[in-house]
């Protein structure tokens, strides 16, 4: 194990950080190179490390950028997926991939369908707002990550939950649709995977927002 103060310092900084792997690696690589330059110029690695700043001084600044990046990618996913699900299902619906059978669906199903449409649209609009905010220096990145995580998770739970309840409440028509429409099954599977991706990504955003780089959790 190396005892090079530059490597040791950069490793300690890296351990304190959470967030998108690619950006974290890029920032750490850049920092290591810069600190090596400083150590060579000073002729004393220990002095260069001292002037560079302690992990407690630096980590919050680095973590803010990682948190902003996590918020941005979460908001981007929400801004794309929720409107895509809304438009995709409306398109399928208008092309015959719909509940078939006798009579209109139960009132509960019609109401939940409306809730799902509104929830998807609201998540899409909020996500675009959060995406714009991540491109600004002012807003607190932790709040943005917390916002994107909360909005996305709530959206996934509302849309996923209403979808399950609607299909169960309208069971016979759902089974008939799956039997007669070849696109219905793959579309449902794809929608489920999309909501799963949202839950995983928003979970990451919430964990990064809660991370304290100085205290280590």
């Amino acid at each position: 194990m190396t005892t090079d103060p530059v490597d040791a310092h950069v490793r300690a900084l890296a351990r304190a950080l959470r967030g998108p792997r690619g950006l974290r690696r890029s920032m750490i690589a850049e920092t290591r190179d810069g600190l090596r330059d400083a150590a060579e110029a000073a002729g004393c690695p220990a002095r260069a490390v001292r002037e560079f700043g302690t992990v407690a001084e630096l980590a919050p600044h680095f973590q803010a950028e990682l948190t902003a990046a996590q918020a941005r990618r979460t908001a981007l996913l929400l801004a794309v997926l929720f409107p895509a699900l809304l438009l995709g299902w409306n398109l399928l619906w208008s092309h015959g991939v719909a509940w078939t059978g006798s009579g209109p669906p139960p009132p509960l199903v019609t109401a939940l369908s409306g809730v799902q449409d509104v929830a998807s649209a609201v998540v899409g609009v909020l996500a675009v707002g959060l995406l714009v905010a991540t491109a600004r220096r002012g807003p607190d990145p932790r709040r943005l990550a917390l916002g994107a995580g909360t909005v996305g998770l709530a959206g996934a739970l509302v849309c996923g939950g209403t979808a399950v309840v609607m299909n169960v409440a309208n069971g016979p028509a759902t089974l008939a649709m799956l039997a007669t429409q070849p696109l219905a099954g793959p579309s449902m599977l794809l929608s489920g995977l999309a909501l799963l991706a949202v839950i995983v990504t928003t979970g990451r955003a919430l964990r990064v927002a809660a991370h304290d780089p100085v205290r280590g959790h």
Binding site: E30, G34, A41, G53, E57, H61, A64
Partner: protein, 106 residues
């Protein structure tokens, strides 16, 4: 000059040293040190996240390249960055004028 006094102005100072041309992170630190005559007493490591923050805002563009056999990330001031720098200079002049007037500078 203590870190607390510099903190609110670091972004503007970084933009200013990049006005003359692209630089990598350590070159930015060197330029800040040289221009301030060594009076800027801030942890030099804070410059790296500041560069990323300015890149995120669209005021800098950053790209990896090989310089002197070493991989370095070089930053260039964008058009939006030049506008932001001009605005910061105007705001600083106004602020300095007001503080000078109140403090009674001669």
């Amino acid at each position: 000059m203590k870190p607390d006094a510099v903190r609110g102005h670091l972004d503007g100072l970084v933009l200013a040293v990049l006005e003359s041309g692209p630089r990598h992170g350590y070159a930015v630190i060197e330029a800040l040190h040289a221009r301030s005559g060594g009076a800027l007493d801030l942890p030099t490591g804070t410059v790296y996240p500041a560069l990323r923050r300015l890149e995120r805002a669209g005021w800098l563009s950053g790209a990896w390249s090989t310089v002197g056999g070493r991989e370095r990330r070089t930053y260039t001031l964008t058009r939006a960055g030049r506008h932001a720098l001009a605005l910061q200079r105007t705001q600083w002049s106004e602020f300095r004028f007001v503080v000078d007037a109140v403090l009674g500078a001669t």
